[in-house]
């Protein structure tokens, strides 16, 4: 737990610094050239999207973020629009980290599109790997109970206060326990990537639902 806190605080420190840097960067926005993504062809090659789809995505992206990068605050604001009832800040934070693969503190269009490509057009293994990385907050290759609890609590936060049936305080914990019951094969208290993928492939529900989001664009 202390380790988690330490790594978390370290990350937040870094993010604070980068955020502050971003803020200063924002002030200098006039003089600094906005970030421009790599060429369309290159992106098309790297992702599973067609040119038209990339164009549509970029237009939406650029409209919201004219400077070409999304920082965490904007990310949280955008995500909060979709879930007005609850508090999305923690989950959005984890999501931001998952998108920001280079840990630069801001999401560029390439990161955005890569992640979307995996999530929408990737193989099952790729999707599950991405999800594993989302859950693995400290990127140590293992999901432990604390990380999972954080994630689950963040997800429940998004529900807001008014739910049916009412949310009890130990619901996240129970959820995490059930999860570990399923995923942790060797009962060592952590879930590795292989355990995760294996367990998910065994679960019919999960496999089926992974197909659901194919045609989002």
């Amino acid at each position: 737990m202390g380790l988690v806190m330490g790594t978390f605080s370290m990350q937040s420190n870094k993010q604070d610094r980068t955020y502050r840097k971003d803020k200063i960067d924002d002030d200098f926005e006039m003089s600094i050239v906005c970030h421009r993504p790599e060429g369309l062809d290159k992106l098309e090659a790297q992702t599973n999207f067609s040119k038209r789809e990339l164009q549509v995505l970029y237009r939406g992206f650029k409209n919201e973020c004219p400077s070409g990068v999304v920082n965490e605050d904007t990310f949280k604001q955008i995500y909060a629009q979709f879930f007005p009832h609850g508090d999305v800040s923690s989950y959005a934070h984890y999501l931001f980290n998952a998108f920001d693969s280079a840990h630069s503190g801001s999401i560029k269009f390439e990161d955005f599109v890569m992640a979307l490509s995996i999530l929408l057009r990737g193989s099952v293994r790729e999707k599950l790997t991405w999800t594993f990385n989302l859950y693995d907050i400290n990127r140590d290759g293992y999901i432990n109970k604390e990380e999972m609890t954080d994630i689950v609590r963040a997800i429940y936060d998004m529900m807001g206060k008014y739910t049916y049936p009412a949310l009890k305080t130990d619901t996240p914990k129970q959820h995490v326990d059930a999860f570990f019951q399923k995923m942790d094969k060797n009962r060592d208290g952590v879930v590795t990537l292989d355990e995760f993928i294996l367990s998910c492939q065994e679960d019919e529900n999960i496999m089926r639902s992974l197909q659901l989001f194919e045609n989002v664009i």
Binding site: Q55, G60, N63, Y79, A115, I155, L212, V216
Partner: protein, 635 residues
């Protein structure tokens, strides 16, 4: 949800993959989007200015015209674009709203035009961005005030009363708008005169006159000529009471009227007299009664009905009530402070006039308003120092609220000026608009005169056609159909008023009255016509008027004669009306219901037919085809 983030929906849905391993239940099926998802560029043509935008941009706001399927109504298949016949400059702002999500108000545009455009495109003005909201609200308020003024001016009662107005309504109108009728004007001036007389009498009453014979002391004129003055007073009070009672009777809402300021002033002005009547000749009571006579001076406020400037002043004071209140409050504070200080400063001086703090109030006020009577003067050094501070601060305290009051007065004064000017110009404006509108109706009547009624040969129609457009053709045809349907005909204002007059006068050959009525009614562009009629009348013994159409419904001239004569007759009309003789064999008393300009003068051979309002139709000269005339021989 801000529509801008609608484009991030794919991202949000993709991110939902992260929940899947945790899900304890099966996920619901995703919605199937049947519409084509490929984004395309739409062309929007607004009065020739071509805009292009992505379909997604417009889809952001699905409850507007452009975002919903309503725009399909404007789709032009041939040019493959959406065509709107609206202002292209404004459309720029509308489209920017879709693009950026923020609506801006263009400062140089008229606010009503802008609001109309917004209403057309289905955008509510409340979403104007903060940067432009202030300006928008200010302009809107200004516009609304101006419109309220205009409608108020219109409804102010310059419009003629409905014919079924009761005596009460008429009376009220006469009181409120004295310039509407001469009686009201007379009344207005008479009351004004008597107010002046009453006030002057009150003043002169107290002037010392030469004493009576045999006495030394100067008498005030009131006592010397007490009979004369009391008669005058009684007369004035009687007139004022009558006026008040009449106003009370005529007021549409008596309670409101009784509560209004003017009515209170009226009552206060006449009350002392009546109280004096009922008061017994008691010594001590009459002393109090004498002070009541002071209230007679309130009669001067009755002048505010007669003077607009006074009313404006009253309005200003009302509007500046808060500033005046502040002035009063700050003055009171300063007075109390300085009075206290001066009292204690002068306490030591022997025989000082500052006997108490309230006594010092007088000094403070006189000093602060820089009057400086000099009846109370500080002697001690401290007193003098504080006295000078008092006078300096007085200047400041009084000078502060004054600009606010002045600016308020200026604003209200200018508003009134503008309202007056607007009212004066309104009449001219309305008259011009009416004339322009008349042009359209007259075109139809003119068209009928010109012989458009005949199905006719092309030769004649060629001349009659003049410059009428296809639209006019269709319009005239429509009006003709209506005439045929109702068995009535269109006529113009002058003739209609003539008929009304005729009906009211009772079918008399009142040449003079109809003449005068025509001359009076000649404000339209048909003056030429009425002039002709006037000339006709001068020579005729039969009063001419446009048909009381009900009587003459059976009559009709279906065809007009050959068209070539028209120009000839017209020119003849203008030249020598006397030369055109009426072919009287054809008409005994020809009653024709079509309103064509009667050109010829009916001459003496026409028998006098007083009983029938004859309408002479002589627009054509002798070549008028009689077989086409339905005659009624009435004699």
């Amino acid at each position: 949800m801000a529509a801008g983030v609608a484009t991030w929906m794919p991202f949000a849905r993709a991110a939902a993959v992260g929940w899947l391993p945790l899900a304890q239940q099966t996920m619901p099926k995703p919605p199937v989007d049947k519409t084509s998802r490929s984004d395309e560029i739409l062309f929007v043509n607004v009065s020739g200015l071509r805009f292009q935008t992505w379909k997604n941009t417009l889809d952001r706001y699905p409850d507007t015209l452009l975002g919903s399927s309503e725009k399909e109504f404007f789709y032009n298949e041939e040019t493959q674009e959406y065509f709107f016949d609206r202002d292209p400059e404004m459309f720029r702002h509308i489209l920017n709203f879709f693009r950026t999500g923020k609506l801006h108000y263009p400062r140089h545009e008229c606010i009503q035009a802008f609001e109309e455009e917004l209403a057309f495109y289905g955008i509510i003005p409340e979403i104007i961005g903060d940067c432009c909201m202030e300006e928008y609200r200010d302009r809107k308020k200004e516009n609304q005030e101006r419109l309220a003024e205009d409608t108020e001016a219109e409804n102010a009662g310059d419009a003629p009363l409905p014919p079924d107005a009761t005596l009460r309504d008429k009376l009220w109108r006469a009181f409120e708008n004295p310039h509407t009728s001469t009686m009201a004007l007379v009344f207005y001036y008479v009351t004004g005169f008597f107010i002046a007389v009453s006030v002057i009498a009150n003043v002169v009453e107290t002037v010392p006159c030469r004493p009576l014979k045999g006495s030394v002391k100067d008498l005030p004129c009131g006592e010397k000529f007490s009979v004369a003055f009391s008669c005058l007073d009684t007369a004035c009070v009687l007139i004022f009471s009558c006026e008040y009672l009449m106003r009370l009777y005529a007021a549409p809402s008596r309670c409101d009227f009784a509560r209004s300021v003017m009515s209170v002033i009226d009552v206060v002005a006449i009350l002392p007299f009546y109280i004096g009547l009922v008061m017994p000749e008691n010594e001590e009571v009459s002393g109090a009664f004498v002070t009541l006579r002071v209230f007679r001076v309130f009669r001067i406020f009755k002048f505010s009905r007669h003077s607009q400037g006074l009313r404006i002043l009253g309005c200003t004071l009302q509007a500046c009530a808060s500033e005046l209140g502040f002035l009063l409050f700050s003055l009171t504070m300063a007075v109390i402070i300085f009075a206290t200080v001066m009292f204690y400063a002068e306490k030591g001086t022997k025989g000082t006039t500052f006997s108490s703090i309230p006594a010092s109030f007088w000094y403070t006020i006189v000093t602060m308003t820089t009057l400086g009577y000099g009846d109370m003067v500080p002697d001690s050094i401290a007193g003098k120092i504080f006295g000078s501070i008092c006078s300096l601060s007085g200047v400041l305290v009084i000078a502060l609220p004054v600009p606010v009051i002045v600016s308020n007065f200026a604003r209200i004064y200018h508003q009134n000026q503008r309202a007056d000017k607007m009212r004066a110009q309104q009449k001219v404006r309305q008259a011009r608009i009416r004339m322009a509108k008349k042009g359209a109706t007259n075109a139809f009547l003119q068209h009928k005169e010109d012989g458009g009624l005949q199905g006719g040969d092309s030769d004649s129609t060629a001349l009659c056609v003049k410059n009428r457009s296809a639209f006019e053709h269709q319009h005239h045809h429509l009006l003709q159909c209506l005439e045929k349907t109702t068995n009535h005909e269109f006529t113009d204002e002058v003739t209609y008023s003539e008929v009304c007059m005729m009906d009211s006068v009772g079918f008399r050959t009142s040449r003079s009255t109809s003449l005068s009525s025509q001359q009076g009614a000649t404000t339209t562009c048909c003056s030429r016509r009425s002039k002709r009629r006037a000339i006709r009348l001068a020579n005729s013994t039969v009063s001419v008027s446009r048909g009381s159409v009900q009587e003459l419904a059976t009559l009709h001239i279906t065809k007009t004669p050959v068209g070539t004569q028209y120009p000839q007759s017209r020119s003849n009309l203008n030249a020598r009306t006397e030369d055109l003789k009426l072919n009287c064999d054809d008409y005994t008393a020809a009653i024709i219901s079509i309103p064509t300009p009667p050109a010829n003068t009916p001459d003496e051979s026409l028998p006098n037919s007083p009983a029938i309002p004859g309408i002479l139709r002589n627009s054509r000269s002798s070549t008028y085809n009689t077989q086409e005339t339905v005659k009624i021989s009435s004699l």
